[in-house]
Amino acid sequence: MDSEKVLKTSSTYTPEAIAAIQERAELGRYMIRGYGAFRNVPRFDDLVFLTTSLTRLPLEGYREKCTTKTLIGTRYAQRPMELDIPITIAGMSFGALSYNAKVALGRAATLLGTSTTTGDGGMLPAEREASSKLVYQCLPSRYGFNPTDLKKADAIEIVVGQGAKPGGGGLLLGQKVNKVVAGMRTLPEGVDQRSPCRHPDWIGPDDLRIKIEELREATDWEIPIYVKMGATRVKDDVKLAVKAGADAIVLDGMEGGTAATQSIFQEHAGIPTLPALVQAVEALQEIGVYGEVQLVISGGIRSGPDVAKALALGADAVSLGTATLIAMGCNKPVYVEDYHKLGTEPYHCHHCHTGMCPVGITTQDAELMQRLPIEEATTYVANYLQSLVMEVQSLARACGKSDVHNLEREDLVALTLEASAMAKLPLAGTDFIMGQS
C-alpha cells in the first residue's frame, strides 16, 4: 500500500533555523533585513473590551458625537501639538522611504489633521510643504539637522532609540544612498550609512536636560520636545526622560519596524509594546506627571482596536509606521515577478534594505518609485487612518464614552495569562490578575 511520507521536523533545527545557519555560513556575518519582529509576542489582540450592557450606557454607534481631539506637549511649550485624532505617523527617513512615500504620508496626515515625522535624513522640503504638522527628529546621526529647519518644525523629537533596534544605530545600505540622499546626509554617494547609536553631544540624562534647554532656547520655548525611546528598561527610562524635561514620551515597542537592521535586534532585543505601555503609564503615575507629560505609544499598532486599547491603557496617542506603508501598498500582490527576483512573495517581503521595493515605497530607484503615485498613496493612507478613527470611536461609544480619551483600564480584560500579567488586567471572566491575585 502506498502511503504518504511522514516528514519529521526538528523543533531545534526548524527550516528557518537551518536557513539562518546556512545564510550565515555563506555571508560570514549576521543577517540584515527590514520590517520588524517576526516572532509572536503578547499584544493588544490578547485583550478585549467590556462594553456596556446594564451597568453602563452605550452611545449611539453611528450618530452620537465621540471626540478625538488630542493635545501633545502641554508641559512647557507655548504651542502644544494640537491633533484632530490620537493617531500620528512615526518617523521614517527620506532615504529609507522614497520621495513619493514621504510626501504621501505628509499629505495624508494633513488630511486627517495629525502630524507626521521626519527621520534619519533631515527635513525634506516637500515633506514640510505636505505636512501641516511636522515633528522634526533630532537623531544621533544629526544628518541634515540644522537650525533653519529646526525653526520650521512644529515639534522636536529627540530620538534615543527605536523599538526595532533599541541600543542599535541606523543602517541605510549603500544601494539606497543615491546623490540626493547622500547630499542631505553629507555622505559619500553609494556608501553604507551606519548611524551612531548614541548622540554626539550628550551621553546621559543630566546632559539631555541641558540639550533640551538648548533646543528650547533655539526655538524660543514655543514648540514641544518629545523624547523617543525603544522599550527596554521602561520605568527608569521614562522617569529619567521626564526629569530631563521632556514634554512628551514616545515609546516604541519591539514590534516596531525598520528599513534595515540586524535581525537579532528585531527578534531578541526590547520588550513588546503592550507591557511597555503599562510600565510607562505606571512610571508617569509614580512621579506624579501622568496627564502632564503625554505618552505616545508605537510598535506594531495596526488596527482601531489596537489604538483603542492603547488609549484605554493610558496612552494619549499612538504612532504608526509600518502599518501606514502597508496601507499604501507594501507587500501588495502586484509586480509579483519583482518579489520573486528578491526571492520572496507578496505578504512575506521584508527586503526594504535592498532598495528594490517592488511597490516603490522603500526605494530610491526612480523607476520603482513611479509605481507609487503620490495621490493614490495619499488616499490609501488617509482612508486607512480614517477607518482606524471610526473603529476607535465605535469601541469608545460601545463603552459609553463621548471622547476616545475617556477609555480606561476598567474597560479591558485579558484573554491569556501572559497578557493578564503584562497588562495587569483581570483574566476574562475572573477577578484573577496573573502575578497579583
Binding site: P147, R185, D192, D201, D207, E214, L215, E217
Partner: protein
C-alpha cells in the same frame, strides 16, 4: 546728536539664560552691534540658535555655547563646557581657554578655534566645519566625522578618527591610537599650505609641529563578510 553705541554690554549676573538669549536675539534682529556679556559664570546654552551677531563673552561658559547658530562671531575669554559650537552652520567661534568634551559636535560649517586643550570626542560627527585646537584633544575625537577639517597642534587621545567617512585630521603631536577604518596618509604641499593658512591667523607656525594626516581607510564603506578586524 545721537551717539551710536559701539558695543552693547549685558551683565548676566541677575538675568536668566532665557533673558540673556532674548536680548541677544533682539540685538541680532535689529542692528549689527557687537554685544559683550559679562559674568557668564559657566552658564549653559548662551547664544544658542542665533544668527548674524558678534558676541564677546568675558568669562567661562557652560554647555552648548553658540550651538545651533549661523553666521556668528563669538569669542569666549575663558574656558567652555561641552559641545561648544554644536551644529554651527557658519561663522567663527573662538575660545581663549580650554574646552570640555564634544567640541564642535556635528558642526556643518564655519570655524571653531580652541586656544587651549579640548576634551574627549572633539569634532565628533563633524559635518564640514573646521576645528582647530592649539593644544591636545582627548579620546574618541573625530568619531564618525563626515566632512571638514580638524587641526590639532598637540597630542590626540585613543581611537582618533574612529569610523570616519570623509574629511581630514591633522595632528602636530603624538597620536595615542587610531580608531576603526582610519589611516595615516603622507602630508603633501597642499596640506602644509592649508595648515599654514589656518594657523598663521592664530599666530601659530605650522612648521613648528610634526603634523601627521589622518583620513578614512574606506575599508568599512561597504558592509561585507569577515571585516571584523576593522572594528
Amino acid at each position: 546728536m545721537q551717539t551710536i553705541p559701539q558695543q552693547i554690554v549685558i551683565d548676566c549676573t541677575n538675568l536668566t539664560t532665557r533673558e540673556i538669549n532674548q536680548k541677544l536675539k533682539a540685538l541680532a534682529a535689529s542692528e549689527s552691534i557687537p554685544a559683550k556679556l559679562l559674568n557668564p559664570a559657566g552658564r549653559h546654552n548662551l547664544a544658542v540658535g542665533i544668527t548674524q551677531i558678534a558676541i564677546a563673552i568675558d568669562g567661562p561658559v557652560g554647555y552648548y555655547c553658540g550651538g545651533l547658530s549661523d553666521n556668528v562671531n563669538i569669542e569666549v575669554f575663558g574656558d567652555c563646557g561641552w559641545s561648544v559650537g554644536e551644529n554651527l552652520m557658519s561663522g567663527n567661534i573662538t575660545i581663549h581657554g580650554n574646552a570640555s568634551a564634544n567640541t564642535a559636535a556635528s558642526a556643518h560649517g564655519g570655524k571653531i578655534c580652541i586656544l587651549g586643550n579640548a576634551g574627549p570626542r572633539a569634532g565628533i560627527s563633524l559635518k564640514g566645519a573646521t576645528l582647530i585646537v592649539s593644544g591636545n584633544v582627548g579620546y574618541g575625537s573625530a568619531f564618525m566625522m563626515q566632512q571638514g577639517c580638524m587641526i590639532v597642534c598637540g597630542d590626540a587621545g585613543a581611537n582618533l578618527a574612529d569610523s570616519i567617512y570623509e574629511g581630514a585630521i591633522f595632528v602636530g603631536g603624538e597620536i595615542n591610537s587610531l580608531g576603526a577604518d582610519a589611516k595615516l596618509e603622507p602630508m603633501n604641499d597642499t596640506d602644509w599650505q592649508l595648515l599654514e593658512q589656518e594657523l598663521s591667523a592664530l599666530n601659530i607656525s605650522a612648521r613648528d609641529y610634526n603634523f601627521k594626516k589622518v583620513i578614512c581607510a574606506k575599508q568599512l564603506y561597504h558592509f561585507k563578510a569577515k571585516d571584523w578586524g576593522n572594528y
